[in-house]
């Protein structure tokens, strides 16, 4: 049962309708930032208030929720948000990507390919891709409206000429549906290609900045680049120390103050599933096994 005195999903029904209208508008105009009346939530800005409001507006009693933070289901932020929705909606939760109908995420896209019908909700700190070069909101809205995006490449140009390569490693700007330039939230650029023609619905919520935007299923999402400096993603020399995966995004884990470290999948569910299927990594000391001994 939901907690006494609270509406299902914490937000009142009027607010949910307002947010749903913003979402629908966002879905209709992929990549376009829709202003919405962001509410005060029982946690501070920067902790995912935008994502929570979207989730609260779309979640129903039959949904199964998964919440990840940097790919992990067991970090403080993920656990808190998951518990919040258990108290406010009494919905089923899961750590399994495949079993979830709604996945709220901060800074990662699951490694497992998402399926039709799933919804991926991103927590967005800064929605405006043009802000670094144009601080005036009136002007950036006009630039979006008139598709004046040349300046976006100025940043890439500057990266290449000063550092020899594009140094933007996360929140890499993308062109959505050939029309709007969008910040995909601070996901590593490793995840950017997963957004392209994704089968799931992608919703983005920025609580502090009061913006919602969306990428409907199977929409083109193309990272900005130059013909002679094409977009590339990160690669690793190592495999995951736990599951041996060579195609996933790896986190470097410092094990002790003697400099021991290991690389493991950032997506904990992906790693777990592989280990359950019998895959084993060989690199590095394994604290999990040490703990088991």
């Amino acid at each position: 049962m939901t907690a006494d005195g609270y509406n299902f999903g914490y937000l009142d029904e009027q607010t949910k309708r307002m947010i749903r209208r913003a979402i629908l508008k966002g879905v209709a105009i992929p990549g376009y930032q829709v202003p919405f009346g962001s509410r005060e939530m029982p946690l501070p800005y920067g902790w995912g208030t935008g994502g929570i409001q979207i989730t609260a507006a779309v979640i129903g009693p039959g949904d199964t929720l998964k919440v990840i933070d940097q790919g992990a289901d067991d970090t403080t932020n993920a656990v808190s948000i998951r518990n919040f929705f258990v108290r406010m909606c009494d919905v089923a939760t899961t750590e399994r990507t495949a079993e979830a109908s709604i996945i709220q995420t901060r800074h990662r896209i699951p490694e497992r390919k998402l399926a039709p019908g799933q919804i991926l909700v991103y927590q967005v700190p800064i929605p405006e891709p043009l802000r670094w070069l144009e601080p005036r909101e009136t002007e950036t809205r006009k630039m979006h409206a008139l598709r004046e995006y040349g300046v976006m490449h100025v940043k890439l140009y500057e990266d290449i000429s000063v550092k020899g390569r594009v140094s933007t490693a996360y929140d890499y700007p993308v062109l959505v549906n050939g029309r709007y330039i969008m910040r995909p939230s601070p996901i590593p650029k490793f995840d950017t290609p997963k957004m392209h023609r994704m089968a799931a619905l992608q919703l983005f919520g920025a609580g502090r900045e009061k913006r919602i935007y969306a990428v409907p299923p199977y929409t083109d999402v193309v990272p900005l680049d130059f013909e002679d400096h094409p977009f590339t993603i990160e690669t690793w020399d190592q495999a995951c120390a736990l599951c041996g995966a060579t195609t996933s995004f790896l986190d470097e884990v410092i094990l002790d103050d003697r400099g021991r470290r290991m690389f493991v999948c950032s997506d904990t569910d992906f790693c777990q599933e592989r280990r359950e299927a019998g895959h084993r990594g060989d690199g590095g000391p394994n604290p999990l096994e040490e703990a088991a001994e």
């Binding site: 008139l146 490449h153 940043k155 140009y157 130059f226 013909e227």
Partner: protein, 258 residues
């Protein structure tokens, strides 16, 4: 070269509240021609330029521009999207203050390359190549293309602005006091450069200046403005050597000669 003007301005007017800045300004500009707009501070010449350059919406009048395609568009009546697209791709605007015309947060090369990227340039090597050529054309060592504009002298910043504005091969370039605030020797170099580049690029230019010497050197024709009105117009040397209007005579007689 065709006989049709590239720009036909008719009845342009602008007031700020009750203060009239421009009143019934009309003129034509042909391809490759340099037109000077002279007058003292407050005569409305900068407002005229800002109206043409899309910085300020005029209250009345038409600004008909003949595009490369031959199509004639009234920039005042055109949608903002079309106006900005035309101004971006087919016009240049060299501002009096380089801080208004340059991006100080990025390198000189990025400043010159930006207009190319704005009109769809997506090849880093080509953009950099063009930027390097244009820096060379405005006598800035291409080895400095990765330096920030703030490390440049005032004259270099103005030359950088000129490169940034000519890189897209515009049909019209607006210049607001391009030599204002520069040392005399730096001015001479800049004037010579503008003169040469404008001729080589075949671009039509409108140069706002209070310096009749600049007008004499650069301009084929001249408009003399006073209190928002054009009081006299004609060939530059004719206006300077045989001024008819009392105000033009006053301007000409006020010039210090060395």
């Amino acid at each position: 070269m065709t006989d049709d003007p590239v720009l036909t301005v008719t009845g342009l007017a602008k007031a700020y509240g009750r203060r009239v800045a421009c009143r019934d300004v009309s003129f034509e500009l042909w391809p490759g021609e340099v037109l000077a707009v002279v007058g003292e501070s407050g005569s409305g010449k900068t407002t005229l330029l800002n109206c043409l350059g899309g910085l300020v919406p005029p209250d009345a009048g038409r600004v008909r521009f003949r595009r490369r395609s031959g199509e004639v568009i009234d920039l005042v009546a055109a949608s903002e999207a079309l106006r900005r697209a035309i101004l971006r791709a087919e016009w240049g605007f060299v501002r009096q203050n380089p801080r208004d015309g340059l991006r100080f947060g990025v390198s000189a090369g990025a400043n010159v390359g930006e207009p190319l990227m704005a009109i769809g340039g997506r090849h880093y090597g080509h953009i950099r190549g063009s930027a390097s050529e244009w820096l060379d054309a405005v006598e800035i060592d291409p080895a400095r293309m990765d330096d920030l504009p703030s490390s440049f002298s005032g004259g270099m910043q103005q030359r950088l602005q000129i490169a940034r504005n000519l890189v897209t091969h515009p049909a019209i370039v607006l210049m607001d006091e391009p030599t204002g605030g520069l040392d005399v020797s730096v001015q001479a170099r800049l004037l010579d450069l503008i003169r040469r580049l404008v001729r080589e690029a075949g671009v039509a230019a409108i140069v706002v200046t209070h310096d009749l010497g600049v007008a004499r050197l650069l301009a084929d024709r001249m408009l003399v403005m006073r209190q928002g009105c054009v009081v006299e117009a004609g060939l530059t040397d004719q206006l300077l050597d045989d001024p008819q209007h009392a105000y033009t005579q006053l301007l000409v007689s006020s010039v210090l000669t060395v």
